[in-house]
Every structure is written in structure tokens, then in C-alpha cells.
Amino acid sequence: MSKARLFVVAGLAVAALVAILVIVARHGKATAVRDIGSKTTESTGAIGLSVLTMGNPFFKDIADAMHIEAAKHHYRVIVESGDSDPAKQKDQVASFIVQKVDAIVLCPCDSKSIGSSIIAANKAGIPVFTADIACLAEGAKVICHVATDNYGGGREAARAIIEAIGNRGKVAIVDYPEIESVILRTNGFEDELARAKAEDGVDIEIVAKIPGMGEEAQSFKAAEDILQAHPDLDAIFAINDPSAMGVVAAVEKAGKGGRIKIVGFDGMPRGRLAIRDGKVYADPIQYPKRIGTTTVEVIMKYMAGEKVPPEILIPTTLYRKTDAEKDPTLK
């Protein structure tokens, strides 16, 4: 190729690149920034949000809800995704501090290593809030933590089991004991059964508790083992929807579909579909949008100089087949 032609081609390539960059810079902005920023001037503040990962719709819901709620108060939300990388999230918090945002909301990628970032924000006088995942680092000051009431959700799951199989029976748990929120769920579940036994004379025995890593394939294996060991099982509590899917597969494979009742957790679309189809009895469902909205409300209260509690738990509600049949999003 001649030199002149090479330069033309290279020039075009570079121009195309620049064009893409510009387009991307325009359209690729986090949704939150687009609409309000320009209209309100002096009174506009900014909230920096860094979530665990945008790959999970749960966090997308939190971000969207925060955006809508913040817009009402003329605040904009700067949304970043930590992509499960603590180092990346640290960088994002550092840039929030440089931008002097009014508040920072974090769904930490790592409950402990986020501490140094929060301490840096504290030093700059920027209040930090956490949503869904708490910070466990010492010395880091978080104004308020907003999350699902996992303990309450666990109790709700236990009530669903009683509702499904009656006052007697054997139940197993497909667990994920490495995760803080899951521990709360199983604790709530166990405590509610114990309470029911003591107060209402319900005799439901937990015969097995096997880890399923919160994912489908592992939970499938765990459930198969449980079914082998306990052929007279009546119900299984799976600590989230992927686990529940694995359990459903194992129960169907064993030819016990419908006989063994399954209760999941979360209320993700797949879980809700399974409830509609009768494969899962019920889910205590979480409300990520409510978490987002509540977080912004708390921030606004704090800004107005009101007292805010250190923790706000969003209760779950039980979602059954009747709810699924009315659910417009499943049509």
C-alpha cells in the first residue's frame, strides 16, 4: 500500500475512533445524569453510587430507584459498577471524593476492604451510606445501612412451609453459610420453626442442612443427596432463587415433583415463573427498588439535619401462586 493511502486509511480509522468516543460519551452516560442536571442549577447536589456489579438486575433496580427518588429532590446520582473488584471500587470512591459529591452510597464489593475508602470519605466530610451489603470494617463510619430484612424473610419462609405442609413433617435447607445475609435467612427460618413448635405445637423437624453455594448446579447435587438420605422429606427451603431452581430439578428427577414443597427466596423473574407454574410454593421477595428509594429518603433526612437510624431493614413479603397469576410482568 502506498504511503498516501496508508495515511488516508489511518486518518479515517482515527476519525472513526474519535466519533465513537464522542457518541459513547454522549449516550453512554449513566442514565441518572442526563435529564435533570442542567435545569436546576445552584441547588443541585450529587450522590455517588458504586454498586457491587451492574451485571445483577438487583443492583440495577436499586440504582434506578435511587435515580428517580433523587430527581424529586433535585439531586443527581452518579452510578458506577464495581464489577466485584475491590480495587476498582476504591478508585470510584476516590473520584467521588474529588468531585465533592454530597453523599456516597455503596454496595461494597468486599465488606472489609471497603473500609479504607469509607475512612477517606469520612475525612473529606462526605457522609457514606450502604445499601444491601454492610461494611464490616472497623473505624469506618457509615451513617445508615439499608437492606432487606433477611432474618424476617427467613421467618416468613418458615411460615410458608407450615402453610404448605401443615403442622407435621420433615424439612431440609439448601444453605450458603459463607454469606452473611444467608446466615440471617437460615437463622430466621430456624428460629420461627422453634417458636412455632414452642407456641403453636407445630412439629416440623429440620433433618438436613447442606451447602449449595447459592447456585443451581451445586444446589442440584445437594438436593439429590438430601433426597437420597431422606426419602420421607416433605419440604425444602432454598436460600435463593438459583438454589431453588437446582432443587426443583432434583425433585423432578426423583419423580417427587409436587409432593415435596419448595420455598425459595428473592423473587427474581425465574423464581416467580416457577411459582406461577406451581414448581415452587412461595418466595419471600425482596424489594431492591424500595431499598433504593429508602436510601435516598434517608440521605435527604440526614441532609436536613434530622436523626437517622443506623440501620433500616426493608421487610420481605410472601409471594404465592395467586400473586404470580396476577403479576403483570410475567405475562
Partner: protein, 443 residues
């Protein structure tokens, strides 16, 4: 065949460091994009505000100071207090605290019937102060004074530039080793895993030697052990490459898996946190060095010594010769195997250092650290002008390459580009930078 003498120096410089232009353009772009009103903080804000208040109020006026918490904000409040009192103003209250304490103080003020003329606060607190003041009709007459802002790009704020350097430190440090390896015509894919391995080993050793109460010597020893271990792993890769003639790509691919696996095994899959607070010192700065974080100073030292090594010592010359033509180098009496072994050892050690820096920045050691870092590190070296064919590459070119990556990431964070889009842009910019470089070299 003959290049004109007068131009040769200039064209050589451009060929070596022309990529600097790309970096400067990026900086320019983000400077323009982030140009906005900046609000002074700390003592500077206090001085500006004191002057402003002296101009617009009688010297007998009564002033309330409201400041956020945090070191800078406290300095603002105290300095302003001092300056205004010196100028004869009366400071009714000096409130330092969160919105709740502001509200309490304002309520107190309103109830007490004390008269005040103005509330002095910083720009980033004025919203809160104004909203709370509006709740007390008694304070309706009181004005709010804030220091005037100035137009300046957020990107070019000192704090942000330090952020960029701090953020790229790990990648940049390891990229020094990568440049050497690439110059010899090799590649090392294991560095990302070695960063995690080093961080985990150091954290694990610190936990074993006292956890959060570990002594300085224990910490230093743990870090040194982690770095040496990584160097040994590097030597192992080098030995596989020289002794058994396995392609570096394959060797380091295998080592990448092994090191990551070992990191998970040692840490039992979970991050290790039991580390003293003092371990954070690498990420901090100190006054004698203009508060530049030690990690960045370390990076600078490594770059300067690597540059001297590569361009002024026999070893550097041999490294280029081995990459340029391994057979010719051997027939010229260069101990090529020893050179290769050394280079892989150096990159292993530098990955170890990178892991320590990362562990210090995050005050923990987790097997998930450094995920995909090998690709960023290779990108930094290649964008900086190192040729994967070997024989070519400059240490400072790599530094520029690393900064290009850091500036893009930081700039996109500042201009709120979505995270998915960030990846696309980063890929395009790497491609574009290398393309420009290739075309320039073809002339």
C-alpha cells in the same frame, strides 16, 4: 538509507515517545470536559471567605461559622475564626459537624435570640446549611456567605492527579517487568495471579505473626517473603523457558493458573483482613514529599532505576540484544539464558511488589486481587511502544502507556461514563494508540 543528521535525534525521540502526544491529548480532552466551578477548601477557602466578608460587612458584624467534619473542613473553620476575629468580627458560633449538629445549633441560635449577620460556610455544605436555615424563621434575615469558586478542571485538581498515580501504581510497577520480558521477545501472563498470590501470602504471614497487632518488623519480613516467593516463581517460569524451551506464553499461562489456585488455597477462598492499620502506609503520603503517596514514590524510583538499567548498563544492552536476535547475541558471547532467567525473576519480584502495594491500599489480601491485570499490564507496555516481536520497548514509554490507561479510566469516572461503555472505550483507545504508533514507525 541515510537519515538526515539534524532530524535524527528529533525523529528518534518521536518514535520512542510519540505516544506522549496521545496522553497529552487525552489529558486535554478530559480537562475541557471536566472544566467547572471549583470550590476552595481548607485554609485557602478560609482566607478567600475572610476577605469577602471583610469587604461586604461592617467590621462589627456577627458571623456564624458552619463547617463539615473532616480535617480540611476543620482547618477551614479554625482559620476563618482566627482571621475574622483578627479583623474585628464577632464570631457568634463556630459549628463543626454533621447536618444534625448544624440543625441543633441553629435551633439554639434562633431560640437564644442572639443576632447574627451572616453564616459562613463552604460551597459543598451550602445546600445543607440553606435548607436547615429555612426551617427557622428567626434566621430569615441572616445571609449565607461562601468563598467564591474558580474555574478549573476537576481532572487537573491535585487530589485527582494523585488519585490517578495511586490507582495506576500497581499496574505501572509490574509493567516495568513486563516491558523487559516483552523486549526479550517473551510474555508473562502470570503477573495478575502473582499480584494476588503476593498479597495473600503477605497478609497470611502477617496474620500468623500477630494479626492486627503485628510488629513493623513482622510486616516487613512478611512482605519481603512474599516478594521473594514471587521472584522464585518468576525464576521457575524463566527456567522452563530457557531450560526446556517451552514458549513463554504457555509456561506463564500454566503459572497463572497455579499461582491463582495457590492464592485461593492459602487464603481458603476468603480475603484476609487481620492486618494492622499501619500497613496502610504505602498508600499514604508524607509532608516532605508533598504528600505524594509512598506507592507513587516507589513507582517513580522503580521507573528511574529501570530506565537507567535498560539504557545505561550492559545488562540493559544485553536484554535488547537477546530480544533483537537471540542467536546473534549468543554468538557475541551474551549469556542469553542467564539474561532470560533474570528478566523473568525481575517480573516475578515486581509482581510481588505490586501485590504488596495492592494489599496495603486495600488493607487486605484476597485471592481475587489482580484479576485481568496481566492484560492491562501488557496493554501498558504495548501502548508504550514495546513490540511483541521483541527487541523494542522503552521503560518510560510504558509509564506513559500505563498513564494513558489510568487517565481514560479516571476521566470516564469523572465524566460519568457507564461502566460497560468504559470497557469499549478502553479497548478502542488501546487499539488507536498502537495503530498510531505503528503508522508513525512505518514512515
Amino acid at each position: 538509507m541515510s537519515i538526515l543528521r539534524s532530524n535524527s535525534r528529533m525523529s528518534r525521540f518521536l518514535a520512542d515517545y510519540g505516544i506522549l502526544g496521545v496522553l497529552l491529548l487525552l489529558c486535554l480532552y478530559y480537562s475541557v470536559r471536566t472544566l467547572k466551578q471549583q470550590h476552595p477548601t481548607g485554609e485557602a477557602a478560609a482566607e478567600i471567605l475572610a476577605r469577602k466578608i471583610s469587604r461586604s460587612f461592617e467590621s462589627s458584624a456577627k458571623v456564624v461559622i458552619a463547617a463539615k467534619t473532616g480535617r480540611e473542613n476543620l482547618a477551614f473553620a479554625d482559620t476563618l475564626n482566627e482571621l475574622l476575629e483578627k479583623a474585628g468580627f464577632k464570631i457568634v458560633r463556630s459549628i463543626k459537624g454533621d447536618p444534625l449538629s448544624i440543625r441543633n445549633a441553629f435551633g439554639n441560635l434562633a431560640d437564644s435570640g442572639l443576632r447574627a449577620d451572616t453564616i459562613a460556610t463552604t460551597r459543598d455544605y451550602v445546600n445543607v446549611v440553606r435548607n436547615i436555615k429555612a426551617k427557622f424563621p428567626a434566621l430569615a434575615e441572616v445571609t449565607i456567605s461562601t468563598p467564591d469558586g474558580y474555574l478549573w478542571p476537576t481532572f487537573l485538581l491535585r487530589a485527582n492527579l494523585l488519585n490517578i498515580s495511586n490507582q495506576i501504581a500497581v499496574i505501572a510497577i509490574v509493567a516495568v517487568g513486563m516491558t523487559m520480558v516483552i523486549v526479550t521477545g517473551g510474555i508473562d501472563l502470570s503477573v495478575g495471579s502473582l499480584v494476588a498470590f503476593s498479597a495473600v501470602v503477605a497478609a497470611w504471614l502477617i496474620r500468623r505473626t500477630g494479626g492486627a497487632n503485628a510488629s513493623g518488623i513482622a510486616m516487613a519480613g512478611s512482605c519481603a517473603a512474599a516478594i521473594i516467593l514471587c521472584a522464585v516463581i518468576g525464576t521457575f517460569s524463566g527456567a522452563m523457558v530457557t531450560r526446556f524451551r517451552i514458549a513463554p506464553f504457555i509456561v506463564t499461562l500454566a503459572v497463572m493458573q497455579m499461582a491463582r489456585g495457590l492464592a485461593y488455597l492459602i487464603a481458603k477462598g476468603k480475603p484476609i483482613y487481620q492486618i494492622p492499620d499501619s500497613f496502610l502506609w504505602l498508600g499514604r503520603g508524607a509532608e516532605p514529599f508533598f504528600s505524594i503517596p509512598y506507592a507513587v514514590i516507589l513507582m517513580a524510583i522503580i521507573y528511574i532505576s529501570a530506565h537507567i538499567m535498560m539504557s545505561h548498563t550492559t545488562l540493559g544492552r544485553y536484554i535488547y540484544a537477546v530480544g533483537g536476535n537471540i542467536e546473534a547475541a549468543r554468538l557475541s558471547g551474551v549469556r542469553v539464558n542467564a539474561i532470560l532467567l533474570l528478566v523473568y525473576t525481575v517480573i516475578g519480584a515486581l509482581a510481588g511488589v505490586g501485590g504488596i502495594v495492592m494489599a496495603s491500599q486495600l488493607k487486605s489480601g484476597a485471592p481475587t486481587f489482580g484479576n485481568m491485570y496481566e492484560l492491562y499490564i501488557i496493554a501498558a507496555a504495548v501502548v508504550g511502544g514495546a513490540s511483541l516481536k521483541g527487541g523494542e520497548g522503552k521503560i518510560f514509554g510504558t509509564l506513559i502507556g500505563a498513564f494513558i490507561i489510568a487517565v481514560i479510566n479516571n476521566g470516564m469516572n469523572l465524566t460519568n461514563v457507564e461502566s460497560y461503555t468504559q470497557k469499549v472505550v478502553l479497548g478502542l483507545v488501546i487499539l488507536g494508540a498502537v495503530l498510531l504508533d505503528t503508522i508513525k514507525k512505518r514512515r
